[in-house]
Each structure stands twice: as C-alpha cells, then as structure tokens.
C-alpha cells in the first residue's frame, strides 16, 4: 500500500474514533450534569460533579477523544482536523434528539446540512500542507 494511501486510511480511522468518542462523551456528560441539577459556580463544586457516574463515564470517553485527537494532530494540519471532526456536531444533534429528548428545530437541521457541506469541502483538501517541513 502506498505511504500516502496508508496515511489517509490512518487519518480516516482516527477521525472516526475522535468523532464517536466526542459525541458519546458529551452525551453522558450532559445527561449526568442535568441529572445533578444546579451545582453552583465554584471550581470545587464542578470537580465534585466529576464523581457522578454518568459524568465520570462522559469524562473517560472525552479522555479517549483527547488522546485520539492528539495523535491525529501529530501528522495532520489543525485546519484539516478541526473542521473534519466537526462532523461530531451533526452526530451530536442526532444524539441530543434521540437519547436526551431535546427538541431540534428545522433551523438546526438546516445548520446540520451546512456543517456537513463544509466538512465535505474541507475533507477534499490535503491532510497536511507541511510535508517535509517539521515545525
């Protein structure tokens, strides 16, 4: 397999992992925080909220997201990674509707189409523009 094709497969795999762990993490975090209710604004209260089981599960998944995102950034441009992983906004809206019972308005669905179009456009550009020029 050519090196560039190999890099593209690896980039797509890590982009998919990044999206899935982000959506699942945010969903559990939101569910947990909404179940907890108002915890106040102090940093200690927010740290305490981390011990709620659903919040903790959300945090673990967001740690997975952070690690896959960091790995992806070690070979791909930030201006490529950032919008491609924005596909998670679309999946998040679906998760909010299906799992959290949030009302997603028609305007939000239009937004989802625009985000998808933007992501598709960015995905058609090279993953790294800095080949052979380590910073």
């Amino acid at each position: 397999m050519p090196a560039t094709e190999d890099l593209t497969t690896k980039t797509r795999l890590f982009a998919a992992l990044t999206i899935l762990s982000n959506v699942a993490g945010n969903s559990f975090l939101t569910y947990g925080m909404q179940r907890l209710g108002d915890v106040g604004n102090s940093p200690l209260a927010l740290i305490g909220a981390l011990f709620h089981p659903y919040v903790a599960l959300g945090v673990v998944l967001l740690i997975v997201w952070t690690l896959t995102h960091m790995a992806l950034l070690s070979w791909a441009d930030l201006s490529y990674v950032m919008p491609v992983t924005a596909l998670s906004y679309v999946v998040t809206a679906l998760a909010a509707r299906i799992f959290l019972g949030e009302v997603v308005s028609p305007a939000r669905w239009i937004g989802i189409v625009l985000v998808t179009a933007g992501v598709t456009l960015v995905g058609r550009t090279a993953a790294s523009t800095l080949e052979g020029k380590p910073q």
């Binding site: 790995a71 070690s74 930030l78 490529y80 809206a93 509707r97 305007a107 189409v113 625009l114």
Partner: protein, 120 residues
C-alpha cells in the same frame, strides 16, 4: 451567564488547540501504537511546554463546558463551541503557517453558517 460561559469556552479552546498542535508537531508523527510506545510518547509529550499550556487551557475550557451543559441543551452548547473555528483557522494560517486554501476557508465559512442556524 450562558454567554459568559460561551466566551470563556471559545477563548480557552482556541488557546488549547493551537498550543496542542504546536506541541504535537514538535514531538513529530506518532507511528507506533503499542501500549508501551504510547506510554513513552505520552511521557515525552507531558514534558512539552506547549502541551502543558494547552492542557491548562483545555481544563478551563472543559469546566466551562461542563457548567454550560448543566444550564443549556447539548444541541446548543456543543455546536456553539464551533465559534472557535474562526480564531483557530486564523491562527493556523498566521502562527502555524498552514496553507489554508480557498476550499478550507469556504468549508469553515459553511460550518460557521451551519453553527449559526444550529443555535437558532
């Protein structure tokens, strides 16, 4: 309160992402995904100043997000954080010297327009 949290979230995310990218580029591409090699890479990355700054900024970003989802719907809070795309793309071009062509600019503009609709 909601918009104060959004402002903190966007600023902290921008600082976190830009410094994370700088730090990971200094480290170089990760090729080996065996647990030992990942641990070793994490150890090296944890001593990188850019990554340390990024981690602190991400902590601020995370706690502001945590508070935001407790007072606003996830379908508002999550897309709202995409407002960071604009300063991040500018920094990617100016600071990280990435070649951001018209396709990427258009893509980012479409994503931003989408985010505006999503927040309605």
């Amino acid at each position: 309160m909601k918009w104060v949290l959004v402002a903190i979230l966007v600023c902290a995310t921008t600082v976190g992402d830009v410094f994370r990218s700088l730090g990971m580029r200094q480290h170089g591409e990760i090729h080996d995904f065996r647990p030992g090699a990942i641990g070793s890479a994490l150890g090296m990355v944890a001593r990188n100043y850019y990554v340390i700054i990024s981690t602190c900024a991400m902590a601020v970003s995370f706690f502001s997000f945590m508070k935001l989802v407790s007072i606003a719907p996830m379908s508002f809070a999550v897309p709202m954080s995409a407002a960071a795309f604009i300063p991040e793309t500018l920094f990617a071009r100016l600071l990280l010297k990435e070649a951001v062509d018209w396709k990427r600019w258009t893509g980012v503009a479409l994503i931003l327009a989408g985010v505006v609709f999503i927040t309605q």
